[in-house]
Symmetry: C2
């Protein structure tokens, strides 16, 4: 077997946020595998076979990629953001773990990318300036009780919270429930940011209080950031959202 | 004031992990400000004035950058990894918040980068495949009691934990104390990774159990990852560290 599999992070969508290393991995690929909109981001070229698939078939997609690599092909599995953060890398290694033992000998690599949380933070200022966490609000793969237990723990520990997968057509109420839990633990004036489609043409950044966030609309392309007690706003001019940053220092309790 | 200030993430050190957008920001800069080893990573060129400073003077460095930008210069403040993650962006916005009100009108932007946690995860497999957090073990800016309270909370909530700033000459015992706390909450066989200087020539990746980690050496260039109950190892050939990944699914309790 002389094939290879690279899981490539495409970043938030702006081609200027791709790393050279990720671009080189795409240039080497013979087969491109991923969710339809991510495959569509990679320019067509002669010799590149594109295998775009719908959402929520991650394990099938991973197995397909491994089979192609095992047959000698050079395969790139593409993910938005960073492939290791709520994306395809874990699905690929799950498939390796439970699949053909020969797959363990394949040249499998991961090319990191700018995950949504980092792109959103950069647009806002420095909201992740202290300790922080990334939680997926999806209860497709874990019970809702686990989601809420984790959320309560990190809110009480005063971490900044980045919520991935906050809402979808099939999961319309989870974000509201999460913000309700947050409102029971953090102050009503806690800064909250909804960062949508960061660095894409339809980017929309909203900064509000936790109380206001409970009424604000969001969609699948939104990353939600809930500030800590040390997260502050710096007002700017009309039409500009304030800078949001989390102070590096925490006072003694 | 027609100057500007961009806080630029240089990534883990491999120039191939820089984004095009970060590189363009460096190319536009007239003044380069940062910690000595980060400034040294940027090639010299005519017209670029370099201001390298020692560690632990972040606020002085941020004020200097803002003063230069306010005087009309185009300034790049460089950080390793992502500037928003335990790096220079928060210091810059702290300086804006507490400094000259005119600084709020400056064109201040942040260029995200590949933070150590993402680079290390990509090398290991997909250890951040579930919910995770990033904690700084440094007690320079927060009381040790806050560090340990946060660590206990995220360990009990079964998040994967990335420990930044695990150890330094001035803070020799904190990592051992943190691993001791982890050993009281997580199983002795929990996977732990020490990822040092990822994608630099002196890269060293070690994967071990939590019990073994308590005896393992680390230094300032090390990122420590403590797995969750769902973090698994996939053994490979002799001389290769196992793949480490965190399963995407969490069973009902």
């Amino acid at each position: 077997m002389t094939g290879s599999l690279t899981v490539v992070g495409l970043g938030p969508g702006d081609p200027d946020l791709l790393t050279d290393s990720a671009r080189a991995a795409l240039d080497r690929a013979q087969d491109l595998i991923g969710y339809i909109p991510y495959v569509a981001r990679v320019p067509e070229r002669p010799g590149l076979v594109r295998h775009a698939s719908d959402n929520r078939v991650e394990i099938d997609r991973a197995r397909h990629a491994l089979e192609l690599a095992a047959s000698g092909r050079h395969v790139a599995v593409v993910s938005g953001g960073d492939p290791g953060v709520f994306a395809m890398a874990a699905a690929v290694f799950e498939a390796v773990d439970h699949g053909d033992p020969a797959w363990r000998q394949l040249a499998i690599t991961v090319e990191p990318g700018i995950t949504a949380m980092l792109a959103a933070a950069a647009r806002l200022g420095a909201p992740l300036g202290g300790d922080f966490c990334a939680l997926s609000l999806s209860d497709n793969l874990k019970p809702w009780e686990v989601v809420t237990a984790r959320l309560e723990a990190v809110l009480r520990a005063d971490l900044v919270v980045a919520l991935y997968n906050p809402i979808s057509k099939a999961r319309p109420w989870q974000l509201g429930a999460a913000l309700e839990i947050a409102a029971g633990i953090r102050a009503a004036e806690t800064p909250v940011a909804f960062a949508r489609a960061v660095r894409r043409p339809d980017e929309a950044i909203r900064v509000m209080t936790l109380a206001e966030a409970r009424e604000a609309p969001a969609d699948m392309a939104t990353l939600v950031l809930i500030g800590a007690s040390t997260t502050r706003l710096i007002p700017r001019g009309v039409g500009q959202h304030p800078f949001v940053y989390t102070a590096r220092s925490v006072a003694a309790r």
